[in-house]
Subunit: 459 residues, 2 copies
């Protein structure tokens, strides 16, 4: 059996990392402080999930780890080929994501997590320990001593060659690493609160959508209202998981049945009809209100190959580019690639060096995309840019890449490269605009001088 390593946190990224490490021969112990989610009833949902959109980076990383695993865990995902914009009258307008029908894919976080855990059960050199809460790591020269609190409130300790921290935005591994390494770290809350809502399946089968869907399952539905918005992503049973995003100050004023009803009537009449007004009221009054935080840190490792951070523990981002999980899965691909040719000490060092600029890039892109989803999608300039992108991409086949395409459909382009390319393209667009303007101006001047000539003649 291989070297013993620990993975802390059995969320999506922790599970996939465990599979990848096990396949490389490590003896993996995966610790999770919660109970096994497959044993808790579905009515115990925490009402804080935002449906996931898995796209090229996530899929290619899954495939990289194991093609069969990828096929099994992604079974039945629902492709979304674009946004469906809902206006205040209930009119819908589709905007494609890709130029060639590329899709992102809706999947329920709980379903994906359970499937990944099932995959782990089938592996011999992985042990999953639920109900183990990490308390402390003593980093040693050779072994990393990890101390956990168990369900019974007892302390248990284990030794590992290295520790992988995939324990989310509020990571304990990260906090422990900060005792061993000078880590730059920042957390920043954006002034947005989110509330989970639910659109039930339609009562009858809908031939248009091949299922009991009351709106298109193949679009990410957005009700953009500038300062706030509602979104909805399809589930395979015909329901939609919907999420409201808005400033805390607004949400705090929506504190009574009548105020919430009025708010939905004025802003989301069709959504109110789809989910039922009573549900909206109950959700705003009783569902937990989530905060959104960005986390950045550097480095991601403890020198000597002792520990490494991946997923939200290393880079928590706001959900507006649908890249949180995709980026976390890509972390694994990048790290495993390095581990294939280097020792853990070298690989972790290289990872911190080369991954940082990509993580900073996607965190920034995600933050900027809130404005795009909630506001820009309704502007003429945005639609014009989309059209220009589309024309140039068709004319310049593969030489012109819209930013969204690079981020969501091109796993081969690192995030920071995507930003570089986009900047270059913006310059070209501005140049084209200037030429068009000049041509128009020249045309205007020519027209005037012709007019003058005509006047002279007639004079």
């Amino acid at each position: 059996m291989g070297e013993p390593v620990a993975v802390i946190g059995a969320g999506l990224v922790g599970c996939l990392a465990s599979i990848a490490l096990a396949k490389r021969g490590y003896k993996v112990t995966l610790f999770e402080y919660r109970e096994d989610p497959r044993l808790t009833s579905t009515t115990d949902r925490n009402l804080r999930s935002i449906n996931l959109a898995i796209s090229a980076r996530g899929i290619s990383s899954l495939e990289y780890v194991d093609k069969d695993v990828c096929d099994r865990v992604l079974e039945g995902i629902i492709p979304m080929k674009g946004r469906m914009i809902h206006d205040t009258k209930g009119n819908q307008e589709a905007q494609n994501y890709g130029l060639f029908g590329e899709c992102i894919n809706s999947i329920d976080r709980a379903v994906l997590n359970s499937r990944l855990l099932n995959e782990l059960d089938a592996l011999e050199n992985v042990e999953v320990k639920f109900g183990y809460k990490l308390v402390r790591i003593n980093f040693g020269d050779i072994k990393q001593n990890c101390i956990f609190k168990t369900r019974q409130n007892a302390e248990e300790s284990f030794e590992f060659d290295f520790v992988v921290g995939s324990d989310g935005a509020y990571s304990t591994v990260r906090a422990q690493m900060q005792h061993a390494v000078r880590m730059d770290y920042s957390q920043e809350y954006i002034d947005t609160c989110y509330i989970e809502l639910y659109i039930p399946p339609a009562k009858t089968f809908n031939d248009d959508f091949r299922g009991p869907f009351s709106i298109s399952p193949n679009h990410l539905h957005i009700w953009p209202r500038h300062n706030y918005m509602l979104i909805a992503l399809a589930n395979s049973d015909g329901s939609f998981t919907s999420t409201f995003f808005g400033p805390w100050s607004l949400v705090e004023t929506l504190n009574s049945k009548s105020k919430i009803e009025q708010f939905f009537f004025a802003n989301f009449p069709d959504a109110a009809h789809l989910m039922g007004l009573d549900h909206a009221v109950q959700a705003f009054l009783n569902h937990p209100k989530g905060a959104l935080m960005c986390v950045e840190c550097k480095p991601y490792h403890v020198p000597g190959g002792k520990a490494i951070l991946i997923g939200d523990a290393a880079h928590s981002m706001v959900p507006f580019y649908g890249q949180g999980m995709n980026c976390g899965f890509e972390d694994i691909k990048v790290l495993m690639n390095l581990l294939d040719s280097q020792s853990p000490a070298e690989a972790f060092e290289s990872y911190s060096q080369q991954r940082h600029k990509d993580l900073v890039a996607i965190i920034e892109l995600a933050k900027a995309n809130y404005k795009e989803m909630s506001h820009k999608v309704t502007s003429k300039a945005f639609l014009l840019r989309k059209k220009l992108d589309s024309i140039l991409a068709r004319v310049l086949k593969g030489k012109w890449l819209p930013l969204y395409t690079m981020v969501s459909f091109r796993a081969d382009i690192p995030y920071h490269k995507a930003i570089e390319i986009e900047k270059r393209q913006m310059k070209i667009l501005n140049f084209i605009q200037a030429i068009l303007l000049a041509l128009t101006a020249a045309g205007t001047i020519r027209a005037f001088s012709r007019l003058r000539r005509l006047l002279k003649r007639s004079g």
Copy 2:
């Protein structure tokens, strides 16, 4: 007896805050996880202190809390009227800090801390508990439940109306507050390591300096070497506490007696002579190597008047402007001023609102000043600017304020205002420069045309 409140951390800021709160009638319990520093022997020094320079903001805040306390705790401080720049040949050159002889003042951290603790002993409504390490705070609607680990490793809990966090850069209060409030937070290490060194008293009384000082006690000595530097501040016994600052990569190479000796010979021959080469070698090999970190956060309080952060817990800064403690003391003055006219809930809220821009400002200034101390002080442009400042300040009496003067000698100008004024002054200086240049250019043109006329005549 008044409302019970807790102050966590009996450093300089925690002690002064306790005095200020006690004078306002609160029943203060001050917790410190270390033992009473007055009981530990002076040879137990942690060899990590950088001497303090107390200036206008610190002094005025002490006076604001209690004039008599101020006089007692600052007894025997050593005024420093300027920098003394040492070149690699051992030549010294003085640069005054103020335009009118204003001074900053050297004081030993341990001495000041002990004196402040003595002041607390004399107060009836303050209890100081040493050996109490804060573990957790449960924020309640009315009472804040604080749980400590004692020397005996037992848990003890207490209830307070509010908690003041003055527990330094790695604050536990701050970490606990993050469970109760969405706090933006960042920590950033600068690539500089520091090592404490020591210059012993001279063997004989020096008439020039009125004491056994081997170099001027009334200057802050700097050996600026661009990428790194050495500084020294006087102690009242004739010794100097000296500190080396340099990049970690450099310090890591200085790992043998011969390398360190060579380094000192080449860079600090006079300092090596003053402290003894053996001491320098021992310090570099054996003294702890300190890291320098900047911390920013926001807000500083838990709503409802439950907790507030002051001092390094709220704003850890690098030591290059000598403002860390001064700023921490000023926090107390600002906060107490608010508490005099508002409820704790209102006062804490106002504090977060109005103090943030000043804290961000001084953190930035301190970071920028490393370059000034280690590098710029040797440049002609810097000296020219100093001369211009001096001329303009004398001509425009009180209307022209050098930045250093505003930060160090003018407690009435908030840090962020100082930056605003400096920016305006920079614009004026650039304007003057442009005029001078234009005049010179005009002069040159006139000279040329005169030459041409002369040539014509002679031709």
